[in-house]
Structures are given as C-alpha cells and as structure tokens.
Amino acid sequence: MAIERRRFLQAAGVGAVLGLSGCTGNTSPTEANNETSEASGGSQSEGESGAARELTLATTTSTYDTGLLDALNPVFEEKFNARVKTISQGTGAAIETARNGDADVILVHARGAEDEFLREGYGVNRRDVMFNDFVIVGPADDPAGISGMESATDAFATIAEAGATFVSRGDDSGTNKKELLIWEAAGVSPSGSWYREIGQGMGDTLVQADQSGAYTLSDRGTFLATQDNIDLEIQVQGPLKDGPTILKNPYGVIPVNPAKYPDVNYSLAMAYAGFLTGPEGQEIISNYTANGSQLFFPNALSEEPQFGQYVPEDYDGGENASESSASVSDAQFESWVAQHVPEDF
C-alpha cells in the first residue's frame, strides 16, 4: 500500500513538473519522461525481465575520470538489462551518499572509511576489486630534493622541512585520506603557507600544483590520464614500481545494506559487485589502459580464501586474534603486486 501510494505521488509530482515544462516548450520532456517511468517501473519489476533496471553507483572521481567505468558499465548494462547512474564524488562524499541511502552500491578507495561504513552497518559484502597506487608528484626541478626517495614519509617530511609548496585535495577523498595518513606517519602536522588545502578534485589539484610549482599526492591513474596537460613529474613511485607500500591504493565495492534502506536495489547492487569481481569485469579492468599504461590491477580473483576483504581490517571475529592485522593486509598487498603487476610495468 505504502509503496503504491509513493509511486503515485512520485508520478504525480514528476508529471506536474514535466507538464509544466511541456507548456514552456522545453527540449527534452519525452526523454526525461521515459527515464522516470523506467525508474519507477524498473524497481517494481525487480528481478523480472522487461524494462531496464536502474542502479545508482556512488564512486570516486578516479574511477570515473580515468574512463574505467565507461569501459565496465556498458558491458554490465548489456548483460543485466540495467542502467547505471554513476555519481562520481570524492570517496568521503560517495560514502556519505550511500550512508543516506541515496546510492545502491559504492566503489571507493579508502579502506579506513570503508571499514567504518561496514562497522556502522550501512554496507554489506565488501569485496576487493582492484588496486593501483599513489605517486608523489612535483615540479621537474624538484626544489625539495625528494626524487627517488624510497620512503613516502621521508619524502613528506623533507617537503615540510624545505617548506616547498604542497597542494592538498582537502576534500575528504580517498586520496586526501591517504595523504593525511602519510603526514601522520611522517610525524608532521602540515601547516603554514607552503601547505594549501584546495578542496577540489584530483585533476584540479594536479593543475593547480602544476601552475604553482608544487608537490602533491596523486593516484597513478589520474596522473597518467592528466599527464598530457601538465608538466609535473613523478618524484616518488608507488608500490607498483617498487615504491613504498604505504602508497598502495586498493579499491573496494560495497553494496548498501538493504536492512537499513529497503528501497535500495540490493540484488542489482550484488550483481554489480559480482560483475566487477568476476572474470569478465576483472579482465576489462586488466585490459584498460590510458596513454599506453595499465591504470588498475584487478585482484578479486583468487583461489586462496581472502577473508579480510569482507570485514573491517581490524576485525578479530570477536576474539582477540590479530594484533598485527594491518601488516597482514600489507603482506597480502605485496603479494598481489608480485602476482599481478608485470616486472616491466
């Protein structure tokens, strides 16, 4: 009953708005109309064939801006007769969107924030999907002299000591979270005129760092994709090229818990998670390149059990089992790199 009334109200509201816009001779009422009817029809006939079902995916800008999702989603849509509505935000914002029940599934890269999301019960059935790494980039003349350093924390400490300009995303994204983690590990609390938080996306941040001769932390994928437009160079490599493991950048997919939000399209969200972590999705990820370089390395397929991916990293199963779970996960990451990343990457 409640559902039917809601549908009716939705249809009435949308109809009113569309009707009104129709009077004013707008350009695409039919298009919008089709989509809304699909939206309501789709959720009703969930699990049946027929009208396309819609999946709302909240994800990070890095998966979207690199074009990876443009390679993955059409295949998924074809296979499952679905339509993916992708909202690309920072990881923090994407998780917040899902926390409000406004997305069906998230694809993000900030394990700490993901774990919190799981622990609060908003997400279920987390799976590792893929990884790449972060790199520390800076101007070619490397004013702080960090080039080739093997420790990200040492590099950050050197930048802080030299007072060389550093541009921070400052937007609660996965990259921003990682950057803060490194500062913390380096024992520096960045402040002063050399440290600029700009609250923007990765591309904006790279452009700004480029323009102001500054260092920044970037995911490798976006840096590679943006490379043509800027003059920054990688000063400290990530673990994909023998850099420090702290610069690892693992992505996870998490469906929103239908017990929290009964209206989320859970089965389709699970299908999406299954697609990304299945052979087909993993192969697409593996084959996706930009500027001739592979951007993401799939790591979902494994014959060995990898229980850690389903639960928060420090989850001890109710017993006081693992003090050193973080290093366990680091060890796992290093073995992925050994398995998945070619020697000559």
Partner: protein, 232 residues
C-alpha cells in the same frame, strides 16, 4: 580519449538539452510562483509582507551550494521527502534551480510592477476591469521589466553549478546521454580532469546559449509596441 574528441555529438546535445530543460522548467515554475507573488507584494498589504520582502532580498545572495545541500537533505531517502525518490533526477535539479531563480525573478519583477503608475491601475479599474484585469494590465505594462526578470532568472539557473551538481549527481548514461549532467557540471568534470580547453569549449556553448536566450528576450521586448509610452 581526453581531448575534444571525447565530447561526441550525442553527449553535447544531451547535456545541452538537460541544461535547457532544467533551466526552462525552473524559470517557468519560478514565474508561475514569482509573478503573482510580486503582484501581491507590490500592491497588497498583508501580515508578514516585510518578512517576505527581506526573504526575497536575502534569497538573491543565497549561496547555491547551501541550497543544494538543503535540497539534498530534504530529498534524500533518509530525508523528509525521501519517499518520492527524487534525488539525483532532473526534477530535483529543477527544484533547487527554482529556489535559486525565484528570488532573482521576484525582486526584479517586483520593482518592475511597482513602477507601473497608480493612475494606470485606476484607469483599468474604472474601465470596468476586475482585480484580475488590473493585475494583467500591470503585468502588461511592466512587461519590459518582467522579461528582464525572466532573463535574469534564466541566467542564474543555466549558469549555476553548485546545487545541480549536488542534487543532480552529474549522471551520464553509458550511451553518452545525459540524465542529470548539464553544461556547467560537465565543465566541472573537465576541470577535474585537467582538460581546461574542453571545459572552455563547453563554456563557449553555455555562453552562446545565454546569448541566444537574451537575444530572444530582447527581440520580444523591442517588438512590443508602446514601450516608450506613458511619458508624462
């Protein structure tokens, strides 16, 4: 992949269409609410009138991002209107754009209708007009200012980015057709990717649209007779 070639025609046409659809619907809604409101505020006394007036002038400078956040909270599934499932739809964008365009439209059209002399309203009444006729006459007399108000509201709606990004979600389907991506939010995507030239190209399209709408408005204003009338 990341150059101008990335922007295929379907994509350009559909983000432009979404921009036009959302802005036009928002301005139409604003006009439907705002014109009667400016007549009411202009010529009637009622309790709370000064509150309405100051709300309108405050609303002019209201940050669009805040409007976006408020609409987001309201339409979110965990919010009061969550049951309508309107978040991340063009309708949500129309709602936030209406909230943004309405104060602009009302304040400009208010000063336009208030500048219509009392004598003309009296003349319409004395000629046998009802209060509806008088209101219509005022709208007709103030048409120059009202068209300006509509254009100002349209300008605010179509060039706005903060709130549509938040409540629309900037969605494009995999066949390159836009669901909630507008020209402005497409520009933010290009900026994020560092594709400044592409962003500027989209900005040029936006500018052309605004110019076109203004030219249309100017044509309408200049074609109507008697706009130099009622000189004293």
């Amino acid at each position: 992949m990341f150059g101008l070639g990335d922007l295929n025609l379907t994509y350009l046409v559909s983000i432009t269409a979404v921009s036009l659809y959302v802005s036009t619907a928002a301005v139409a809604l604003s006009a439907a609410i705002g014109l009667p409101l400016s007549l009411l505020v202009g010529f009637r006394d009622f309790t709370g009138k000064s509150a309405v007036t100051s709300l309108i002038s405050t609303g002019m400078g209201f940050p669009s991002v805040v409007v976006g956040l408020v609409v987001l909270l309201t339409l979110s599934r965990s919010g009061p209107l969550g049951a309508f499932e309107l978040l991340f739809t063009p309708e949500a964008m129309i709602l936030s754009q209406t909230i943004l365009a309405l104060p602009v439209l009302v304040s400009v059209s208010l000063s336009a209708v208030q500048s219509v002399p009392q004598d003309l309203r009296d003349a319409a009444f004395a000629a046998g007009g009802t209060s509806t006729d008088v209101a219509l006459l005022v709208v007709r007399e103030a048409r120059y200012g009202i068209v300006t108000a509509l254009l100002a509201a349209y300008g605010r709606a179509i060039s706005e980015v903060g709130s549509v990004l938040i409540v629309g979600g900037n969605i494009v389907f995999s066949d390159s057709t836009s669901f909630t991506r507008t020209l402005t939010t497409a520009i933010t995507v290009e900026a994020r990717k560092g594709n400044i030239e592409t962003g500027i190209a989209l900005g040029a399209i936006l500018l052309a649209l605004v110019l076109g709408v203004n030219a249309l408005g100017a044509r309408f204003r200049d074609r109507t007779p008697g706009r130099n009338g009622r000189g004293r």
